[in-house]
Symmetry: C2
Subunit: 214 residues, 2 copies
């Protein structure tokens, strides 16, 4: 379920199949060949996931994508829980050309409406795989970078052309099991007093993907 004119239009134009589209003003929906079913604001607010629904709601088939993981760099998410963080991270991967994300089975569902709202359509271009991380990480020959408070300063590290970057849960970070499979430990240097406890995981991901692509 995707909401908002711009995002709905973007998903309609992608190869994701539309099941049904509702619009308060169907005549204003501009994608040719798409039929929008009229709906009242009151009806929309009953099915919307938003506090303030904004006129458009599309229901789509969950896309079936290839199981193959082909991105040069793969982002691995270990137990991410916040839908807004996952949505922001999918959008970041789209920006930085990371086409595959591998999530642990206990990561928040990427089709959660709050995730979709935060991706702004990027979910149509990034493949998300839910896997047992223990099995996945043991099967790869790529270097596995994890982010830790006591890791090596990323500014002093030359990153390779291909690899895996692991980001952990908002509260507990990377799990013990997964941290034992990391081949390299990185950190993002803090500046000034040692006061803030941690970077938000989406902020840390922004910085690391930027470093990967430099």
């Amino acid at each position: 379920m995707v909401e908002g004119k711009k995002t709905v239009e973007e998903v309609v134009k992608s190869n994701i199949q539309l099941h049904k589209l509702f619009a308060v003003a169907p005549e204003s929906f501009t994608v040719e060949g798409t039929h929008a079913t009229p709906i009242s604001n009151r009806e929309l607010s009953q099915i919307s996931s938003l506090k303030n629904p904004n006129g458009y709601l599309g229901v789509f088939q969950i896309p079936k994508h290839s199981e193959a993981i082909v991105s040069d760099w793969v982002l691995v998410l270990d137990g991410l829980q916040d839908p807004g963080n996952l949505g922001t991270i999918i959008r970041l991967c789209d920006w930085f050309g990371v086409t595959d994300i591998v999530c642990s089975d206990d990561t928040v569902d990427c089709y959660n409406p709050k995730v979709l709202q935060a991706t702004m359509g990027s979910i149509t271009r990034v493949k998300i795989h839910y896997r047992n991380l223990d099995i996945y990480l043991q099967s790869t020959s790529l270097p596995i970078y994890g982010t830790f408070m006591d890791g090596v300063n990323v500014n002093n590290t030359k990153l390779p052309k291909k690899g895996i970057m692991v980001m952990g849960n908002e509260g507990r970070g990377i799990s013990t099991l997964v941290s034992q499979l990391c081949t390299d430990r990185l950190s993002i240097p803090q500046f000034g007093g040692n006061t803030t406890e941690s970077l938000n995981v989406a902020s840390a991901t922004a910085i690391l993907l930027h470093e990967i692509r430099k």
Copy 2:
């Protein structure tokens, strides 16, 4: 108004003055010398700004801080609207030692409960000034960096020790008036297909503050 045990405790321990503290389990509040008024979960949900209140709510005096802007790098926010973005950016400034943020008068209120929730206590260490940006930016002799889609690649730019970094509104970017006052135009390079429209402003701020501090 600040909610959640960890954040309330952090603000109580700062120099911000507590007005009144409510707790469902007052005996579990661990800051010495602080009296918590017992409250039922039902009462708490009536005053809380959260969908799922989590047991603690503190009401504080809005701090009066010095008007002086002393940070080597100053972050300027031009019309930022999303409370979650402002909260994340305050937390980023705390991490990267940027102690002053200057907001345009139309930027979201930094004492909005949703902002405070996202700052995780960083608001006690970062000064936020609301100013007329036209007057403020005309009065400074520091270089003024703005982020634009057509700016110079930040990876090819040597940033000075002191300066001003301007971030724009989520939808329209930096306003015309402010963009004319920028002395340097920067951009964050995209990678892969030119598909995503823009980086989220908090993600872009994370990358730029990281670059400033390198």
